[in-house]
Every structure is written in C-alpha cells, then in structure tokens.
C-alpha cells in the first residue's frame, strides 16, 4: 500500500468538498445547531438543578428544625430525595427526562420516583431532545453520507475512475483515501465547534476539572471519532457499489431512515413486548403476598412475630416485654423494616433486571446498527443512562433504610415501653442524621454495565476497517 497515494486522494477529496458552497452552508447550520443546543441545554440543566437543589436544601432545613418528636413520628415525616441531572446531561441527556426526579422516603414502604420531566410535557419531548449528542449522532452521519455518496460513483460516472486506477492507485488505496478525505472535512468542521464547546463547558463549570470528567471527555471523543469513521466507511463502500451517484445517495438515505429513524424505536419496543414487566399494582401485590408470608408485625397474634417475641424473652431471661432492657415496639419495627426492605430489594432488583433485559435487545441490535452502539455508549459515558438512574434509586433506598433504622434504634433505646406514644426525644437528635447527597457513579462504574455498547463500538470500527480493506477486491471498476 502506498501512503502517498492515500494522502493525495484524501487531500483531493477534501479540497473538492471545500470548493462546494453546500459544505459551508451545512457547516454554518451545524455550528448554529451545536452552539444553541449547548447553550440552551446548559441553561436548562442549570435551571432544573437549581430547583432541585433549592428543595433539597429546604427539606434538609425542615428536617433539622423539627421539634421534639417521637422517633417513629419523625420516621413517618420522612425525607425527600431529589435526583440532580447528570453533570454531562447538557451533552447527552439520555434517560434523564424520562426518569423521576424526587422520591419520598418513609418507613414500611418504598415509593416511586415521581415528577419526571416527561410527565410535565405534552408530547413535544417525544420528538427528541436537543443536545450535542443528538446532532452528533443523527445529523453528522447524514452530512457524512452527503459528503461521501459520490466519492466513488461520481468518479465512475465521469469516467475518471478508470484513469485513477490505471495511474497506479489501487482500489484499496482509493477507498482508504476517500474515507480519510471525507473524515478530514468532518473533523475540520467539527474541531473548532468542539473546542468552543469544551471551552464553554469548562467556563460554565468554573474550570473545575476532575479526573472523572477528563476520562468522560476522552471516551466521548474516542467513541464519536470511531462512529464518524464507521459512517464515512459506510458512505464510501455504498458509493463503490452503486453505478450512479443518485443511486448511491438514495441507498444511503434509505439506510439512514431505516437505521437511524425506524429501527431504534422498533427494537426497544420489541424488547418491551418480549419481556413484559409487572405493573405497579401487580408489583405491590407481589410485595404484599411475600410480606404476608414473613408475618405481620402489626398483628399481635402473628405466628412469626410471636416466635420472635418468645426468642427475645428467652434471650434476656424475662417474662414480659416490659422487662426488656429496650423498647420492644421499636425493636420489632426494626426487624420488620429489615424484612420488608429485603423483600423489596429482591423484587425491585428483579424488576430492574427485567428492564435491563428489555434494553439488552437494543444493545444487541447495536451490533447491526452503529447508531444504537454510539447512543448507548454515549449515554453511559455521559452518566445519563438507565444504570445511573438505577444507581440513584438504590442510593435513595439505602438512605431511607439507614434513616428509618436509626430512628427505630432511638425508639428502642430512648423511648420507654410504657406510654410509648406520648414520649418524645430531643430535637438535638435530628442533627445526627446525614444529608441526602447523591453520588454520581464514576465513568468506569457506568461503562462496566455497558460492556456491550463498548464492544459494539469497537466491533463497528473493526468491521469498517475490514470492509474498506478487504471488500475492494470484489468490486469492479464498472
């Protein structure tokens, strides 16, 4: 392979592209779209996060300002946890807008995360969300197809193809050169825009850079670069197959419509149809039935809890719960919470696993569709994918459980059995409880669960390279 040939062809291709007006027009359109998406996306994230922070602080203040209360009273007063938008949601909002934002944490039961942005929208949201990822994932490939549809077929039509090939340039060199030519145009257009985006992002972040954000940025750059290489290779390969440029363009546009517009919905819908999940009422029924098997702590005659009572009395060698060194009511509450939390974790874990199975259908389809591959990879890297939401829910449940159990301990130790309900503990106790602070998973934690997406991105790079490298042998100069 002659590298100077490849370089020459690539250079020629990009120079030709820059000679046309359309490249500049699309660059301007792309630039405006990218920057406005970035700016409004940032404003949006800032507004929504400010609201959530405000109420998270208010909830904390209200908690601390509680008067003297019975611990179980406080437990029912509970806590509200708010889910902040992921730090890179302005780049790729992923499932952010479709996931709930606030959850009420109380004893005995686990609530749903409510008030997703989607519930506050009248369907506009379903058209898509404007952010950088949307433009890079959907529009840039179309632009690549547009730049590349005539790469080979155009030369064939004008008869130059035979001349190029007879001048000592091999098919392989021609295809590689053309691919690089298209890519160089795309990168020349995108690089300044991306640099502005990164600068703006740093500026809006007050130049606070963490290792995690550097890794995220690096992974996104690598991921999207691979994606563009794949798209350019598709354009060149299709162009080399078709007799006329018009056919080449039509084929590429059909591919775009099928793979970028129709297939994603169909695949995810298929996943949801194949793996149906329990509705909320069914889920609650399952929990209720399982809890009934474990005994009812509120029922004095319940066999399981009668056993617990007998064992506890025997352990402390007393005849009556009143003689125990702690408040038996609080103790039972704590045991019951342990049981119900375990049951919830088991079933909710199963439900989330079912959701992951539904997503798996789309993830596997990303082996057939590079758009799905980058979409999942991008969401995970931006920390706005399903697993991030899952993570929030478990953090909220952990927080709820710890809070309730701490209050049950106070109940067992600070409240006397006699006249239990009329007693209170000092408001100083409230200071001992931690704030709810959501810890965003690191990029490595997120990507761990999206190994299929990483694999598909690399798989597509491999396919693209192999296709450009080996396919030419089968293609005739026509």
């Amino acid at each position: 392979m002659n590298f100077s040939n490849i370089k020459r062809i690539a250079y020629q291709e990009s120079r030709n592209a820059f000679r046309t007006k359309v490249v500049y027009i699309s660059a301007i359109v792309l630039g405006i779209a990218l920057l406005s998406a970035l700016f409004i996306g940032w404003q949006n994230a800032k507004t929504l996060n400010a609201e959530r922070e405000k109420y998270q602080d208010l909830v904390r203040t209200n908690w601390l300002e509680q008067p003297d209360r019975h611990p179980h009273r406080s437990s029912h007063y509970g806590y509200l946890a708010f889910r902040p938008k992921s730090s890179l949601s302005f780049f790729d909002s992923g499932v952010d807008s479709f996931a709930g934002t606030s959850i009420f944490l109380e004893p005995h039961r686990q609530n749903t995360v409510n008030f997703s942005e989607a519930r506050h929208s009248n369907g506009l949201l379903r058209f898509g969300e404007l952010n950088l990822a949307l433009i890079l994932q959907i529009l840039v490939p179309l632009m690549i197809f547009f730049l590349g549809f005539a790469a080979i077929s155009g030369e064939r039509e004008s008869g130059i193809l035979a001349i190029i090939l007879s001048s000592g340039v091999s098919w392989r060199e021609l295809l590689i050169g053309k691919t690089f030519g298209i890519l160089s145009v795309i990168f020349a257009l995108l690089t300044p825009l991306l640099l502005i985006s990164i600068a703006l992002w740093l500026f809006l972040n007050d130049f606070k850079i963490t290792y995690d954000s550097i890794f995220r940025l690096a992974f996104l750059l690598i991921g999207y670069s691979i994606y563009f290489v794949v798209c350019a290779a598709i354009a060149v390969i299709i162009s080399s197959f078709t007799k006329t440029s018009r056919n080449s363009l039509i084929t590429l546009l059909v591919i775009w419509i099928m793979f970028w517009i129709a297939m994603p919905r169909a695949m995810q819908n298929l996943g949801a149809s194949v793996y149906p999940t329990a509705s909320k009422s069914q889920f609650e029924k399952i929990l209720e039935d399982d809890l009934a098997k474990e005994g009812d702590s509120h029922n004095a005659n319940d066999a399981k809890f009668a056993d617990l009572k007998r064992e506890t009395l025997a352990k402390y060698k007393v005849n009556d719960v009143k003689d125990l060194p702690f408040n038996y009511g609080g103790f039972v509450m704590s045991k019951a919470e342990e049981i119900s939390s375990l049951i919830f974790r088991k079933h909710y874990g199963e439900l989330l696993a079912k959701f992951r199975l539904q997503n798996r259908v789309t993830e596997i389809a990303s082996l057939l569709n590079p758009y799905l591959a980058i979409r999942h990879f991008s969401m995970a890297t931006a920390g706005s994918d399903f697993s991030a939401y899952e993570n929030f829910q478990w953090q909220a449940e952990d927080f709820r459980f710890n809070m309730v159990q701490k209050l049950n301990d106070l109940h067992a130790n600070e409240i006397k059995s006699q006249n239990d309900r009329t007693q209170k503990i000092s408001s100083e106790n409230w200071q001992e409880f931690p704030k709810f602070e959501y810890r965003e998973p690191t990029v490595f934690e997120s990507l761990q669960k999206q190994y299929l997406a990483i694999f598909s991105v690399i798989f597509w790079l491999l396919i693209a390279c192999l296709a450009v490298y080996f396919l030419p042998k089968k293609v005739t100069a026509g």
Binding site: R73, G100, N122, F127, E129, L134, I250, S281, Y389
Partner: protein, 455 residues
C-alpha cells in the same frame, strides 16, 4: 397523445417502478408492526386493568378481617383503585399514555402525597418512544412523499426525456400537476387503507374520530405534497431536491420540536411539583405538634357538620387523624392550583407552537384523538381528586361517630370511573393550520409553475 392515454402511461410508469413497490411494501410492513405494537401495549394495560377488581376485592376482604376492631386503623390501610380506561383509539397513538400512570391508588390520607405516584416503567423504552401508527403517519409517510416527489421533474431532465415531453400537446404544468396528483392519490389510498385497517384490527370505535383521523392525515399529507411540489418547482437536480426536502423533514420532525421543548422546559420549569410535595408533607405532619383544637377549627370551617362530635385534646382520635391528613391537602391547595396552571400553560404554548409546525400539530392531534395527551391526564387527575373527596366524605360520618366496621354500608361506597371514550373533542380545527400552511406552499408552487410555462 391525449390526456387519458398520457395518464394511463404515467400511472403505469409510476406503479411499475420497483422502488415504488418496495417503498410501499416497507410502509405497509411498518404499519403492520405499528398496529401490532399498539395493540400489544394497550392489551397489556387492559389485562392489568381487568385484574384490578379482583385485587381490590381481595384487599378489602383481607383488611376487613385484619382490622375489624379498629375502623380508623383499617381506613389507614384501605386502598381505592382509580383507573384511566384507554379509549378505543388508544392504540392508534399511544402518546403520553406510557409516561403517565393509568391506575392511581388512593388511601384516605393526604391526597397530594399519593396522586403523583408513577407507574413502574423502563425509562429507556420511554426515551426511544412508541412505534405506533401515529409515528408511521407523522414521521415515515412524509419520507415516502419525498421519495416519490423529489425527482418528479428532474428525473426526466436528467434522462433527457424532458425536451421530448415539452414538445407534447399536453402542457408541462398539466404534466407536473397530474404526476403530483397520481402520487398524492397513491399515498392517500395507502394512508386511508392503513387507518381503516387499524380501525378494524385495533377495534377502534367507528365514529366521528375515524373521520377526524382521516382528516388530520389528509391535511398533514397535503402539506407535505404542497411543500415537495414547491421545492421541486425550482427545477434543481434530484440530489438537491432530495437533500433539501430531507433537511426540511429533519428540521420539522426533529430539530424544531426538540428546540421548542428545551425552550419551554427552561422558561416554564415546573418546580411547583416540589412545592406541592413539600407543602402537603409539612401541612399534615406539623399538625402533630400543634393543639388538636386548632386543627379541628380549620377542619370545621369546611365541614361544620362534625362540630358536635367531641375530639379529646389529651389523646389520639381518628377524627383528628383524618382531619390532619386533610390539612395537608388544604395547605398545598394553592401550590396544586399553580402546578396545574403551569402544566396548562405548557400545554397552551405547545399548542401555539404547533400551529406553525405541521409535525407537532399532527402528532398532538393524534394524541388528542386517542385521548392519550397531557390534557386528558389532567382530567383524569381531576376525577381522582373528586373521587378522593367522595371517599373521605363517605367515611367521615362513621369515623366521627366512632362507628363499628359492621355498620358501614359498603355497597354505597363511591366508585371511580374515568374513560377517555366519553370526552367530546373537536379536532377539525387542528386541520385548519395544516391546510393553511399547505395552501401557502401550494400557491408558491403555482407561482413557480406559471413562470415555468413561459420558459
């Protein structure tokens, strides 16, 4: 060559093209999948809804057994199901039905703490959206129109047949007009067939909504034809036409709605949702730390008929307990109103922008037709609020009288009913804006065609 032979030839030419056949088949296939998926989704909801009376009965039986000694305590556990019945057109356009809950359960406790509970759904599925018939009509059919029209003039110019055509006695304007009409009729037949088939397969009620669906589809597709005609009338190359039409499609179907959504959600953030949640929680819980007389005073202002029932200050009573719970709703009332108002405002602005964007207009109209939009969900929430009040008012007398469980007339317990089927809607208006925009492009096309003739 007279007109009828010309027409026959044109139709034959067009229909015998392999690409046309493949494209139409693809669309029929997509429509079949959309119908299957829509039916599957709504059937699943129907199956869940069908189970509810059984669950409800079992739940009541169990609670009545467990808490027969303490009526107030039983009411604490008793859940009452409400259902948002899908309309018979629900599967046609799933809209926001997958996002909003359709089975809210309420207890006699503070309502504002319960009414916003979500359904358990996979956010990734919600993100990708529904492949329903509305999607096929709003997103995919325009692409078919673009495919049919982009080379209507240019193909002949590129093939060199154009000059031959120009020498025919039939005028160029007529040729173009007839060609557009042939394509328009084929797309319309396709759309109407699909809508009619869906009406049978999805067992949608054959009433005025069927004609609304046809009308909206007709207006929307007319818009795309007028637009395509306008673009091709500039006599540019097929490539140019295809790309500019696709560019417009991307703008109308992806970029503009996405941008508008971002603008609306940034300028009209719904923080009232948090305000309601915090206020109802404080409103109820701080009553535990206040004197009972104070709470009861506020309660009697609305329910004076219970003034005569004694509420002891020094010990717990169920009358006081449910009065406290009601205080949560009362103190959040203002915020709730603001919340609903904000959602209505968002709705209003979305509907306003829809006037200028046919894609948004068509989608929102279909969601409205199938009663799966935000407005319908708000109506459902309203019905849940009324139902909760009726439940409270049903049990208050027994609670304040300290009645026994046995004396409750369970057969008179209020029932909740809400179905999108009953709500009247006039959708002909939404086609006005579509037809207006279509006629603007139609006229522009006509203007260009006139210049054509003079060439």
């Amino acid at each position: 060559m007279n007109l009828s032979t010309f027409l026959k030839l044109e139709v034959k030419n067009f229909v015998s093209g392999k690409t046309v056949l493949v494209a139409v088949l693809c669309l029929l296939l997509a429509s079949c999948y959309a119908m299957f998926y829509g039916k599957n989704t709504i059937d699943k909801q129907q199956a869940i809804i069908a189970e509810i009376p059984k669950f409800q009965a079992e739940h009541f039986k169990k609670q009545l057994e467990l808490n027969k000694d303490e009526f107030g305590n039983m009411l604490y556990y008793l859940q009452h199901n409400t259902v948002h019945q899908p309309s018979s057109w629900a599967a046609f356009s799933i809209g926001q039905r997958d996002v909003n809950p359709y089975n809210i359960k309420v207890k006699m406790l503070t309502l504002e703490g319960q009414i916003y509970d979500s359904e358990m759904s996979n956010p990734t599925t919600l993100l990708y959206g529904n492949f329903d018939l509305a999607f096929v009509i709003v997103f995919l059919l325009p692409l078919l129109i673009i495919a049919f029209c982009h080379n209507l003039i240019s193909a002949d110019q590129e093939n060199g047949i154009w000059n031959l055509l120009s020498s025919q006695p039939v005028s160029i304007a007529k040729i173009i007009g007839w060609r557009l009409l042939i394509r328009f009729v084929i797309v319309l037949i396709l759309a109407f067939t699909v809508i009619t088939a869906s009406c049978f397969y999805l067992q949608s009620a054959f009433d005025i909504r069927f004609f609304y669906a046809l009308l909206i589809a007709f207006s929307y597709l007319t818009f795309w034809f007028a637009l395509s005609a306008f673009v091709i009338s500039f006599q540019k190359s097929s490539t140019f036409n295809a790309l500019s039409l696709l560019g417009i499609w991307i703008f109308l179907a992806i970029l503009a709605p996405a941008l508008l959504n971002l603008v609306i959600s940034t300028t009209l953030p719904v923080s009232e949702s948090f305000e309601v949640t915090v206020k109802q929680r404080e409103g109820y819980h701080n009553k535990w730390d206040k004197s009972k007389a104070e709470t009861m005073q506020k309660f009697y202002e609305i329910y004076p008929e219970y003034k005569s029932f004694p509420i002891p200050e020094d010990k717990f009573s169920w009358g006081w307990y449910y009065a406290m719970n009601f205080m949560g709703d009362l103190e959040a009332e203002n915020s709730t109103e603001k919340y609903i108002e904000k959602l209505n405002l968002r709705n209003l602005w979305t509907n306003r922008t829809a006037l200028f964007f046919p894609t948004i207009q068509a989608q929102l109209s279909f969601n409205n037709l199938s009663k799966n939009d935000l407005q319908n969900h708000l109506e459902y929430l309203k019905s849940v609020r009324t139902y909760h009040r009726r439940i409270r008012e049903f049990f208050y007398p027994e609670i304040f009288r300290n009645a026994k469980v046995e004396v409750v007339g369970w057969e008179n317990l209020p029932k909740h009913e809400f179905s999108g089927e009953n709500l009247a809607n006039n959708l002909s208006q939404s086609s006005y804006s579509l037809l207006f925009i279509a006629s603007v492009f139609g006229l522009l096309f006509w203007g260009n065609l006139k210049k054509f003739r003079m060439k």
